[in-house]
């Protein structure tokens, strides 16, 4: 069936995506080198946005946020998937429950955890102090060294179910013969996990990790709803800085300059990631 009928079918979707994604991307580039009168200003916006200390701080915060979130999401997700790959009664029910964090709205997760992390009336401080793990209540969301780990914990809770369900699907496609071969060689369960399961699900983990990176970079909701970047900019990540520049300071051109740099860095990471992993054998195309 060689004709352009296929393109005609696909055209409406492509046009809409072009108008509302490609055009804005190019327009950001234009905004970043002009001022609010539309005059060309070269790299002025870039230097203006790089000057304040908060920009570097936001960059470091973003790195911590992304790295911390992804490490624990993958770790917990794979662990949960290996558990759910066992045959036991009620597995379907446990699997459904495990998906709840992923389905509930980000803003609901944010408010509920903010209430649980509450310094005086929060259940988390109560559980930790009454069991003796802590001597006195901790101001999780107001102390500068606990607020980012708390945010990461919420993000991990929200997204590890997604990793689990994808990895579980990968685990269930592993051919039975591989297990049998491992058993012939006298492998214990943990050796099977290490030498059969983990290598086989590597492509899934690779693909999922890329999605998680993108999502972590998009996940403004949790941080914005709970701390708005505070205290003392400890939780400002670059997307939140862009948002603040544009919609609180109404500096669209500076926000655009920051967007361009952010966009370039993200695309570099994505390309490097795809290049590093896509060429390896056994990769899902």
């Amino acid at each position: 069936m060689k004709s352009n009928t296929g393109l005609v079918f696909a055209l409406p979707a492509l046009i809409v995506l072009f108008m509302l994604i490609a055009y804005p991307v190019f327009y950001t580039g234009w905004l970043s080198v002009t001022n609010d009168q539309g005059q060309f200003t070269g790299l002025q916006n870039f230097s203006a946005v790089l000057r304040p200390r908060v920009t570097t701080q936001a960059l470091w915060n973003t790195l911590w946020w992304v790295a911390g979130s992804i490490f624990f999401q993958v770790l917990l997700g794979v662990t949960a998937a290996i558990l759910l790959n066992q045959n036991f009664m009620g597995r379907a029910l446990v699997r459904s429950i495990a998906l709840i964090p992923w389905v509930i709205p980000g803003i609901v997760a944010a408010t509920t955890w903010a209430w649980m992390f509450h310094t005086e009336f929060g259940i988390i401080n109560y559980m930790l102090t009454s069991t003796g793990a802590l001597d006195e209540p901790v101001g999780w969301l107001t102390r500068s060294n606990t607020v980012m780990p708390a945010m990461i914990a919420i993000n991990v809770w929200k997204l590890f179910p997604f990793v689990a369900i994808m990895v579980l699907a990968g685990l269930q496609t592993i051919p039975q013969e591989l297990y049998e071969a491992a058993r012939m060689d006298g492998a214990s369960y943990w050796e099977e996990v290490r030498h059969v399961m983990l290598p086989q699900i590597r492509p899934v983990i690779t693909a999922v990790t890329l999605l998680l990176v993108i999502w972590a970079l998009n996940a403004i909701t949790i941080i914005y709803a709970i701390t708005r970047g505070g205290p003392a900019n400890r939780t400002v990540i670059t997307p939140i800085q862009i948002f603040r520049l544009a919609f609180e300071n109404v500096e669209f051109n500076q926000a655009a300059a920051l967007s361009v740099m952010f966009f370039a860095v993200v695309m570099l990471i994505v390309l490097a990631y795809i290049k590093a992993f896509a060429s390896q054998p056994g990769e899902v195309q």
Binding site: M1, K2, N4, T5, G6, L7, F9, A13, L14, V16, L20, I21, Y23, P24, V25, Y27, T28, L31, L83, Q86, N87, V94, I97, A98, I100, V103, I104, P105, G106, I107, T111, T112, M116, F121, G122, Y126, W157, P161, A169, T173, Y179, A182, A187, L210, N218, I220, T221, Y224, T238, P239, I242, F243, A246, F252, S259, F262, F263, V266, V284, Q285
Partner: protein
Amino acid sequence: MRRSRFTSRSLRRPGLNRPSIFLGCIVLVFVCLFPFVWMSLSSIKVLNELYTIPPQWWPEHPTLANYHKVLFESRIPRYFLNSIIISVAATGLALVLAVFAANGFARFRFRGRSFWQACILVGQLLPTAAIIVPLFITLRVLGLVNTYWGLILVYMIITLPLSVWMLTSYFKAIPLELEEAAIIDGASRVGILFRITLPLSLPGIVAVLVYAFITTWNEFIFALCFATDSRVKTLPIGLAEFSTEFNTDWGAVMAASMVMTVPIALLFLVFQRHFVGGLTAGASKG
């Protein structure tokens, strides 16, 4: 059923022992469910039960006052309606576009097909923060800021890429012979799409609908920027506002959270199997 379990057990290696499976499941269920349970318990507590030290586990005087406040003394019902209108419209539009695009990609060979497919995927990988400013300006030029249509368009494009991707893999799985038979019988291309392809890929359609609806229902940051007028604000914005509007009355905030979560949780639980199947099918064919 019984037989298959029996054979799979005899083929299978020892695996984890019962106690550790049991313990693992308890921990997993507790971690995933506890915030949800705490939310529902908090939503039916009276004020002095919420603000006590140490916290009270079980409400002794369960009350619906928080729900009353949310449903009759706040704008939440209006935001609920806005959310439904916007999510339904965006989901429907995205589905229509995705059905045609996926059909084109799955069934025709044309120049630049893989290029266009890649373009659609890139749409899914773009960082939100990078397009939010120009998108806002574009919408402002079009006069669509603070309108239903503005959010509907934006939500349509954020759900479109993955919808096309998932549907393409569903359409590819339908045997070509069925369509060829229909062509011989004189059916048109569009006729085939509606009479054969769509009915056969119903699970995929459901998966896409549920995915798109959940995504748009939960979306926060675009709504925060593009809907600042209370006539078009959606539930997530309403909930964020609620914490300040009532000087963070946690009981009411938790009640509002319940109002927002229950519909989406029900939708998910009903269509869970399709949804998870559609998602993982798309992923494993990648």
